[in-house]
Amino acid sequence: MADDLKTPLLDELEKGPWPSFVTDIKTLADKSEMAKDLLRQLEKSYEDKRGYWKHGGLVGVMGYGGGVIGRYSALPEEFPGVSHFHTVRVNQPSGWFYTSDALREIIDIWDEHGSGLYNMHGSTGDMVLLGTRTEELEPTFRALTEKGWDLGGSGSDLRTPSNCVGPARCENACFDTMEMAYKITHRYQDELHRPMFNYKYKIKMSGCPNDCTAAIARSDMALIGIWKDDIKVDQAEFAKYLDDGFNVQEFVVDKCPTGCIAVEGKQINIDNSNCVKCMHCINRMPHALSVGDEKGFAINLGAKAPIVEGALFASVIVPFMSIEDYKDEDSYEEFHDLLERIWEFWDEHGTSRERIGEFIERVSLATFLEGIGVEPSPKQVKAPRDNPYIFYEEYYAEEGEG
């Protein structure tokens, strides 16, 4: 470790059982001035209880409007190693699957051109290469693209879509989250790299209602897997849960939100017409129960954190859509048409820095649905309106008038 690095407060974070980011960053301190000055500046933040980063700045790579977050130290003379400390966002592969060969490509590039520090991964899903100088951005980009990697989004653009493991490692996958994320990311390269929206647009894909990517809370467009037909039952496997002493009554039957499960003898009977696909019984008994055959995804729009008008979950716009062949670009036509109508309507009527969820609340769901050409459905609401202030658009006219 570098002898001149004195960080008594941060050293307290080297204690305890959870892996320490301080210990890890210190392994770079001898060879990276950036890592060393990052620790020094962070030590000062811990002393003074405040951050010391300036407010960004416009930096990037040629021809792209996003993917790089400018970051400068507010104390560049004291901490010259982090006078520039820009972030480079790199598209993650679908489902965050890697091989060591692939990740070593990234590591070698970032050791040469940046700080050697990362977030694996950022909240949106990208690999976040943390900290480099302005003059290293273009060489970093060139080295990445030579190895087949590209930048993610930032600012008012499409962000890198992200997805759960889906069919790659989960029996609950109701659609091919892996392939769909790949296809969407490739089709909308321009929207991803050149910000031209009102504000950011995040797409997340979860293969079932367990929603392992938190799409319902974190994405402007949440594609969440769902099925329409019956839960598949293997009665012999179900009987084994009973035989093994698993308390099916308390842990499954009593937990069903619509009370649609009954057990008779060693047989489970599900009233599928009342099942709301919550996943609890399937989660508890994966050997016996599985999602149905008529599979697809629901499209929910509008999730976001509180800034500005309050936090929102994404709400149902299209209760069910399916794609014939996820590997075939032509199969996506219905989805792409809808997405492009959504962007067009939001672009035309939304205001600057208005997320799509806030936009829908402002113009009303009815207006929004009409604008994008989607029919109203009881599946889009918890309940119909409870106030009588209805904007009627049809009237009878007296005969002979009008």
């Binding site: 407060l9 959870w18 405040r50 598209n91 965050w96 091989t99 909240s123 069919p167 929603d211 938190a214």
Partner: protein
């Protein structure tokens, strides 16, 4: 002179298929079931075999050396195949079950932990904090470290009623989207932005700055002949949206910035609908390097949940069953006027029934 390769753009990410383990490719879309083999250990089985996943902790903020260690372990035990989870854990993907024990042993020798599956606390999703962000009200990586130090047994063991998900965001922008976690730790500013009228006219657009305020607290004004803005401090709720569009309105205030604690959110549809987190503790001081007030508060809530919730009940489901009045009684957290919502949809949180517990 060597000619450089032509500059290419808009190539997108590489196709995922080349990163998939052969067993995953052979069972893609055909998986039958999964089993939990213990904390941090999963197996998934399809018609063409079983893949074993070993889940390892990660600080998320990592170095090249950490990632090289991951690559080395993957090459030694699983032909170089691994992935990261949506909560920033590493998952090694093994074909050979016999490699699990030696891999776990070597992971532990590297000072890392294995766990985070089923009824456990998984890794804490979090934001940049003082490490890399201009608007943070606290540090994120440090908070994660000290909280997980207290709770690491809940990562390496599966002794909770159900899964418990914690998130940290260092300001209200919530890059960590903590608004739907079982327990959320949220940094916040508590004093209005300070307008720097010397630099503001050069750095900021006045109409954009005025429009950025959700409470109409910002008005144009003139100071010594310069057009700038003023803040109606009575109306300011310290959201920081103005600072996002106008760098000349910083909020950082070492004396008053701090941390709030929120509880009861969930994402999944299992049993009950997704829920937002609700305010438990409006303010705890920033007390680095180990934030003892925060770790005590989180540990208190986790331990009460562990002792009192029913099996397969998330924190929010537990609180809804016992009632918020009992939650505040049990935790000893003081209920204050700050717990009463006063923003856009405040009325939806008022009790409009006689369903109270006495």
């Amino acid at each position: 002179m060597a000619t450089e390769a032509k500059r290419v753009t808009d190539i997108g990410p590489p196709h995922f298929e080349k990163f998939l383990h052969p067993i995953i490719k052979e069972n893609y879309g055909q998986w039958k079931f999964h089993d939990s083999l213990g904390p941090g250990l999963l197996s998934h089985t399809g018609p063409n075999g079983t893949i074993y996943s070993v889940r390892m902790s990660s600080p998320r903020l990592v170095s090249s050396n950490f990632l090289r260690m991951v690559c080395d372990l993957a090459e030694k035990y699983c032909d170089g195949y691994f992935r990261f989870t949506s909560r920033n854990n590493v998952e090694f993907l093994l074909a050979n079950k016999d490699n699990i024990d030696p891999l776990v042993k070597e992971i532990n020798e590297h000072g890392q932990l294995v766990g985070g599956t089923d009824n456990s606390i998984s890794n804490i999703v979090h934001t940049q904090g003082w490490v890399h962000c201009h608007s943070s009200a606290t540090d994120a990586s440090g908070l994660v470290k000290v909280v997980m130090d207290e709770l690491s047994d809940y990562f390496t063991e599966q002794k909770l009623p159900h899964k418990l998900r914690i998130a940290v965001a260092c300001c209200l922008n919530m890059c960590g989207a903590v608004h739907a976690s079982d327990i959320a730790i949220l940094g916040l500013h508590r004093t209005p932005p300070r307008v720097d009228s010397d630099t503001l006219p050069n750095l900021c657009e006045i109409p954009t700055t005025v429009a950025s305020c959700p409470n109409n607290a910002i008005r144009p004004t003139s100071v010594e002949g310069k057009t700038t803005v003023k803040v109606d401090e009575e109306k300011c709720m310290y959201c920081g949206n103005c600072f996002t569009v106008c760098p000349a309105m910083p909020l950082a205030d070492p004396l008053n910035d701090g941390v709030s604690i929120w509880v009861g959110g969930k994402i999944s549809n299992a049993r009950t609908e997704p829920m937002f987190t609700k305010l438990a503790i409006p303010y705890l001081p920033n007390n680095p390097p180990r934030w003892p007030e925060v770790t005590d508060a989180v540990k208190n809530i986790v331990e009460l949940y562990a002792a009192n919730a029913r099996p397969f009940e998330r924190v929010g489901e537990w609180i809804n069953r016992i009632g918020w009045e009992r939650f505040f009684d049990m935790t000893g957290i003081e209920f204050t006027k700050y717990h009463l919502d006063d923003f856009r949809h405040a009325g939806t949180t008022y009790r409009r029934s006689l369903h109270n517990r006495y």
